[in-house]
Symmetry: C2
């Protein structure tokens, strides 16, 4: 966590959000990340996502089972979902959601939106061309040599 | 959407999940993505995330306000959160969450986990070193030339 905090300070000094993350496997740091949203024009490059992508690259594996994440702040819904997809085993965090809110990084709206029905969300969502799109799902289902994940 | 569906078929043929996405601004496609989770060992590279990252790179902007997303499937919580962070204006989707579940791509567990309290989640979450981590938040708050996002 001490290293994650160093990264979060590096992040502020680089001109982007105060968040750092580190991924550890067998007591060794295998990847590090800090927030680069405004630096790299990438709204998905939160510290945790950066660290997950690097750890997977390092291990040549899309699963981080057996890895622990040390993040300087309770993860937002995007990062928490990514943590589940990546199958991380344990999360250590320092600051809370409400600490983040105090400095204007609030993910409360996103948590609320995720719980709404499609028609009630702030971003309009319209369904179209389902029959055509189902073809790819059928192809996947019939594929013999697929890598499940 | 027709192009997104083409991409989802390309995705299956490349050996990875059947999902495609396209981002449109002013009636022009500005980015395309398909799922490359197993192909690139990146659990965050869902079609929507890939398309968002490319669109931001294309526009040199971390905001996609005024852009529409065409995705072949209702977005998972990671992608839906990323869509909110990216400030996409409208979402068009084809297959539903329950269509995806039928071919073993279920995000129901993640939706449930997001709604749980920290202590009830499947992935254990432990808090530590908050006082030290708050220092980066203070630094950010006092920073004069910060780019808010």
């Amino acid at each position: 966590m001490a290293r994650s905090i160093e990264l979060s300070i590096k992040s502020v000094n680089s001109g982007t959000g105060p968040f750092g993350a580190v991924i550890v496997k067998n007591n060794q740091i295998i990847s590090e990340g800090f927030n680069t949203v405004t630096l790299n024009n990438d709204p998905t490059s939160h510290a945790e996502i950066v660290a997950i992508r690097k750890a997977c690259e390092e291990l040549s594996n899309f699963s981080l089972e057996g890895c622990d994440l040390y993040t300087t702040c309770e993860p937002c819904p995007m990062c928490l979902s990514a943590i589940y997809w990546a199958r991380i085993s344990k999360i250590y965090y320092a600051n809370t959601r409400s600490d983040a809110k105090k400095i204007d990084f609030s993910d409360a709206m996103i948590y609320e939106e995720l719980n709404k029905t499609i028609k009630d969300r702030k971003i309009p969502m319209h369904q179209m061309m389902r029959d055509e799109a189902l073809k790819a799902f059928d192809l996947w289902e019939k594929k013999v040599d697929k890598v499940k994940y």
